[in-house]
């Protein structure tokens, strides 16, 4: 296939947080210039300080900043960027954004809008990959949700228990578990009306409920030269409330044969929708080790680094190369799987209070280092962690020669990590890593549901009391920490205030 090369010289990263930094790093590693965009809450963020150029989008609210296609295109124009990388989240899977970027004459670093369309609607995605021969979770589209008899009949065809899902939904919203024919009509009604409110479209479908499944996904890469290749799997079954917490590669239950079959299905799914760039095909694997297509994520994933470490590839670099019209750097034969990698998502949240997001100002951040440790984060001392954005602070990713060594190393790396000023889920992640089920490799999505903090041991009393007393005596009771302004003042403003108060 002949593809006209489109050399990229300056990439605008239409995102924030750790993924914006990840893209900036890939670009700088390739000698490509970068442009950051920011909301007022991110004026001093690392992606702003780390890029060669930076342009303001607007106030902190995503709709007025990171979700504003218009403002992002303005920044492209002002900076003269020739390509846009969307990261994940925000506009990453918005086909209209892809079209707007391309209409402005710029390269979108991601899949074609058509592939995004095909995979964005879950009903259409199921149909597309089924046609390509990929096994999907048994299920059915509801032709007429308002016809009770038809609903019950369709549900019986799918089998119970089943899930009612919104076609355009995500994150568990508008989802309902149905145990028998008696519940299905009301469940469909409620799910549909919730979906109208949440996603503007009430279309729902039915899907067999696979109990205690494993979430295993396959990384794929496809280019415009006809290469499509799968780069192993990621085991993502450690989830709390449908959010992944710990991911590992390879999966403890995937052997070479299962891997080959899943990789083949993933490549078929990618080919079925005319995919290019990096993408992920998610599967549910039941206790019978049968796998079923769940959905395709048409973007780089949060957990992509574990694949990079196990296979010695750079997925963001491959995205950029593919967008330039170049072939995948290793064609259809990736370097062999070597060793084991685990990622822990460190979030600002309180696992012991229902994973409530926590907010505050970070003190002196201490990141882990040394052999086999990779840190992809966006935290810095003095950073205000607010509720405007996702509460992911830091990904601690480790690599070692085998799974037990990788688990030891991750525990060591978390032992080194300090994020003073905030409550984080590090203690929770350590409980996962110490859990018998996790250690044996025999776990499913129920693992993280019930991991309470162990009670304080009598041996811990002296250090805890001493620490509390030191804090108590240092800060007189009357001194309540002053409320701080949300946005750091410019030194100019501070200086000018100084003049005035004289």
């Amino acid at each position: 296939m002949t593809v006209a090369p489109r050399p990229i010289r300056k990439i605008l990263v239409a995102n924030r947080g750790e993924i914006a930094l990840r893209v900036i790093r890939a670009a700088h590693d390739m000698g490509i210039r970068t442009v950051a965009v920011y909301s007022d809450a991110d004026r001093t963020a690392l992606h702003v300080r780390g890029a060669y150029e930076a342009y303001r989008l607007g106030p902190p609210e995503p709709a007025a900043s990171y979700l504003s296609i218009e403002k992002i295109l303005d920044a492209c124009k002002a900076s003269g960027a020739d390509a846009v990388h969307p990261g994940y989240g925000f506009l990453a899977e918005n086909a209209a954004f892809v079209e707007a970027v391309e209409a402005a004459g710029l390269v979108f670093i991601g899949p074609p809008a058509a592939a995004m369309h095909a995979m964005g609607d879950k009903i259409s995605a199921r149909a597309t990959v089924s046609a390509g021969g990929v096994p999907v979770v048994p299920g059915a589209t509801l032709e007429d949700a308002s016809n009770p008899a038809l609903v019950v009949e369709t549900a019986k065809g799918v089998g119970f228990p089943l899930l009612v899902k919104a076609a355009f939904g995500g994150g568990g919203k508008g989802m309902r578990l149905v145990n028998g024919p008696g519940e299905v009509v009301e469940a469909v009604q409620r799910a549909s009306s919730e979906a109208v409110t949440a996603f503007g479209d009430g279309t729902v479908y039915l899907e067999r409920f696979i109990e205690k499944p494993r979430h295993i996904e396959i990384q794929i890469l496809a280019d415009e030269h006809g290469n499509a290749v799968a780069v192993g799997e990621r085991e993502c079954s450690v989830q709390r409330r449908h959010q992944k917490v710990v991911e590992e590669s390879p999966s403890p239950i995937v052997d070479a044969d299962l891997r080959a079959r899943m990789e083949e299905a993933a490549v078929q799914a990618a080919r079925a929708c005319g995919y290019t760039s990096a993408g992920t095909v998610e599967f549910l694997v039941g206790a019978d080790r049968e796998f079923h297509f769940l959905e395709m994520n048409t973007r780089i994933q949060v957990e992509h680094p574990i694949t990079e470490l196990c296979y010695g590839v750079d997925l963001v670099r491959e995205q950029i190369r593919i967008a330039e019209g170049l072939p995948i750097s290793f064609g259809e034969t990736h370097p062999p799987l070597r060793g084991h990698a685990i990622e822990a998502r460190i979030c600002a949240e309180d696992a012991d209070r229902g994973f409530l997001p926590s907010t505050g100002t970070l003190g002196a951040v201490q990141l882990p280092g040394g052999p086999g440790v990779r840190c992809d984060g966006h935290v810095f001392a003095g950073q205000e962690i607010t509720l405007y954005y996702d509460n992911l602070l830091l990904k601690v990713i480790v690599y070692a020669e085998d799974r037990p060594s990788a688990i030891h190393r991750l525990k060591r790396a978390l032992y080194e990590t300090r994020l003073p000023g905030l409550t984080t889920n590090i203690p929770f992640v350590l409980r996962v890593l110490d859990d018998e089920r996790f250690l044996s490799g025999d776990y499913d999505t129920s693992l993280a549901e019930d991991l309470p903090a162990p009670p304080l041991d009598e041996n811990d009393v002296v250090p805890v009391v001493a620490a509390a007393l030191a804090l108590h005596r240092r800060v007189p009771k009357a001194v309540v920490p002053a409320a701080r302004p949300t946005v750091a003042l410019s030194p100019w403003v501070q200086a000018d205030r100084g003049w005035m108060s004289r």
Partner: protein
């Protein structure tokens, strides 16, 4: 100065002594040599107890000490002798079971009320649902009681610290007038 702290299910009496051997923390009368150093301006501390090294972050949250050790976070309140005496005199926080105020620990939007004024509720029962970020959470009763007053309506945006519900004491004999 004596201090009181409830930890691992029991209340402890704590004292501090500085001698030529260094600093000692006495817990219920038993002395333990400790060495605490603060990392300058960082919110981080190094504590050595009997040679064991404990690195932790410490901060205050509404008067509670929040101590983040590497594998656990402990939140507790220390009361010194003076405060304890003052509370005992006024029937303050300790031992009292007067009206409790349920506040929002973070900004969000009230999604659904789960109780009505006058309802008797048991400990842990959901009072209302509040959404913050993309997540909905249940606000639960911290102890048995009666819902005295609900201060918010569904759809209301609430700030951190906003008063949500006032709880009264559980059905009980009328308090004796002093």
């Amino acid at each position: 100065m004596k201090y009181y702290v409830e930890i691992a299910g029991r209340e402890r009496l704590v004292e501090i002594q500085t001698g030529k051997e260094g600093l000692q923390v006495l817990v219920d009368g038993t002395p333990h040599p400790v060495d605490i150093a603060e990392v300058r301006g960082a919110g981080l501390y190094s504590l050595l107890v009997d040679g064991h090294s404990h690195a932790y972050a410490a901060r205050f949250d509404n008067g509670d000490a929040v101590l983040s050790f590497h594998d656990r976070e402990v939140q507790l309140r220390i009361e010194d002798e003076r405060t304890r005496l003052a509370h005992e005199a006024t029937g303050g926080p300790r031992g009292g079971s007067g009206p409790a105020q349920v506040k929002s620990v973070m900004p969000g939007v009230v999604k659904e009320l789960r109780v009505a004024e006058g309802d008797a509720v048991r400990e842990g029962q959901p009072l209302l649902n509040r959404e913050a970020m993309k997540m909905e959470n249940e606000i639960r009763a911290t102890h048995e009681g009666v819902v005295e007053r609900i201060h918010v309506e569904p759809g209301a945006a609430v700030d951190k610290g906003a008063l949500l519900v006032t709880m009264g004491a559980a059905e009980a004999p009328a308090p004796a007038t002093a």
